[in-house]
Symmetry: C2
Subunit: 326 residues, 2 copies
């Protein structure tokens, strides 16, 4: 039975969306979506979640829900009707699956988003907030931390279709004055991240340690990632939705890099399981060697900062996982 | 009856493709494609043209031809089989039509290219050369002339799908070692550009003057473009196909900007029709105010420069149009 995170919610910001704002969370049943629905409801918004399924239905009790597929335009139009702010967290593929079938990925991501943009335009939506992929749109970075204006040369079809969606958002604002924001989120982790559906390395590693399975790592474990706690991501989404400024694309990360090997050591410490020896598997072509996002832009524009300390966030994740997966 | 351009072909470069290289020109029946097929044949390559149609069949006499649609994967595979170099000049839409139906544009451009990439990979093609759009991928420039590493925020769906194709080429080289080059071509003009199918402003304006129709201009005519003669573009394609270096994306333009009003005046002078008064129509949202490409990268990497003087190129275009459209 999942429990909410042990971490108290961040202090409510002034300058957020006015209570009662009508918000739709597309992909509201997923990892980030679940947190966002809960956060918006706690802040007094009118929330509708939309998606194929709820990963953790208990966590969404009391949230209005409309089940449907992103590619079902009629269902999408019903979900969006009357919304002031639309959060777009949809996209079923992973970097690995997208490279196996890039055409399907492009259809599920870019083509479906084009339909969504037409629907939002017709429904006079005030703002669309899109969760893009800070870990894949930049490709192999020339320098870290990576600022938003760095080159974008993805090494996964997943990153390309996310980037195409960003470009279509820019286009629709130019042509049709549909306002938007893009959050390029680093590697989010925390409660409600499935450990078995390739959603993230923290959940997968933690679950394997908890269940005494071999801890498998792609490559030598020296790849560096920027891990950001999911409640901080939800906070960034709410903050950016209410923000009015010239910038529309924001990195969201911790601003710090950690190697997968270091993450394994920290999880082992939190779980009090010393002596974990990872099993190394071949590296994946879609993995960039290092990804750390520069988060100055969002901090300077909105005041958002990642609030949750790394080890406290790992503790909260472990606490949730103990209740949910044992 | 079209005649070849009055301009003698540029001196053949040393360091080009070895004679007898097997080349396929996808979109070989179009404006640039017709020139490229002729140029490759004149250089002693084995050339196959592929496309839905030949705009000027007389110009392609003696060129091996396979008729087919870009979306027909079996036909595409037949065309590419055995090719060492594939020139990709396909893409049926225009910036205006693409914005009306961005989904169709993305399918015709990016999705069809993904199929092509799989075909090229299976056929062990040595190099793929893609004609991208220097006039649309950058969007509204922060500064001119625009270098290749400038931001790319298109204001047309056309530009977005061209950009997506560029990214997929990068991805396939990373994942599958399929080599490629991208030419971001400015506004090409010259013989074999249809004056009636919205292929370019020079052909359209010249044809209207020649046939005593009102000279219509979108907006106030002060938008600035970079006009490059099509024979220079064909030269750039051949040059880049043979080039081996770290850079893979190259601007191709004249490096100079001309306003549409100045172009009208120059065409009027070439045609000896003084006193032309354009009719101004509303500006189009897809038109960037200014587009001039920085061509230092291709010059420094390959030695290519645009060789044909502006007025001589206009004369050659007029000479061809007089024979073809009167």
């Amino acid at each position: 039975m999942p429990t909410p995170s042990a971490i108290p919610p961040a202090a409510r910001r002034t300058g957020g969306l006015p209570p009662g704002t009508s918000c739709v969370v597309l992909g509201g049943g997923g990892f980030i979506g679940t947190h966002l629905c809960r956060r918006l409801a706690a802040d007094g918004m009118r929330v509708l979640g939309f998606g194929r399924r709820q990963s953790f239905p208990e966590a969404l009790e009391g949230i209005t829900w409309l089940g449907g597929d992103f590619t079902d335009r009629a269902a999408l139009a019903r979900a969006v009707e009357g919304a002031e702010v639309v959060f777009h967290l949809l996209g079923g593929s992973t970097p690995e699956s997208a490279n196996i079938d890039p055409v399907a990925d492009l259809g599920a991501s870019a083509v479906a988003t084009l339909h969504l943009l037409e629907i939002c335009r017709a429904a006079a939506v005030r703002k669309l907030v899109f969760v893009s992929s800070g870990g894949t749109v930049y490709g192999i970075p020339r320098a870290t931390p990576i600022p938003e204006d760095a080159p974008t040369d993805p090494i996964s079809a997943y990153g390309i279709s996310k980037l195409a969606v960003e470009k279509y958002l820019y286009l629709y604002r130019h042509l049709h004055a549909l306002d938007y924001a893009v959050l390029r989120v680093a590697n989010p982790f925390g409660p409600y991240q499935s450990p078995t559906r390739r959603q993230g390395v923290v959940a997968a590693l933690m679950h394997r340690m908890m269940t005494a399975q071999p801890v498998e790592v792609w490559g030598d474990g020296q790849v560096v990632r920027d891990f950001v706690f999911v409640e901080d991501v939800a906070e960034a989404l709410v903050t950016v939705a209410a923000h009015d400024g010239p910038q529309r694309v924001f990195n969201v990360g911790s601003g710090e890099g950690r190697s997968v090997n270091a993450v394994i050591a920290d999880i082992a410490a939190v779980l009090e399981q010393p002596g974990i020896v990872p099993v190394h598997k071949p590296a994946r072509a879609t993995d960039v060697p290092v990804s750390i996002l520069d988060i100055r832009r969002i901090r300077e524009a909105t005041g958002w900062v990642p609030r949750t300390p790394w080890l406290a966030a790992l503790e909260a994740t472990a606490e949730w996982m103990r209740h949910s997966y044992r």
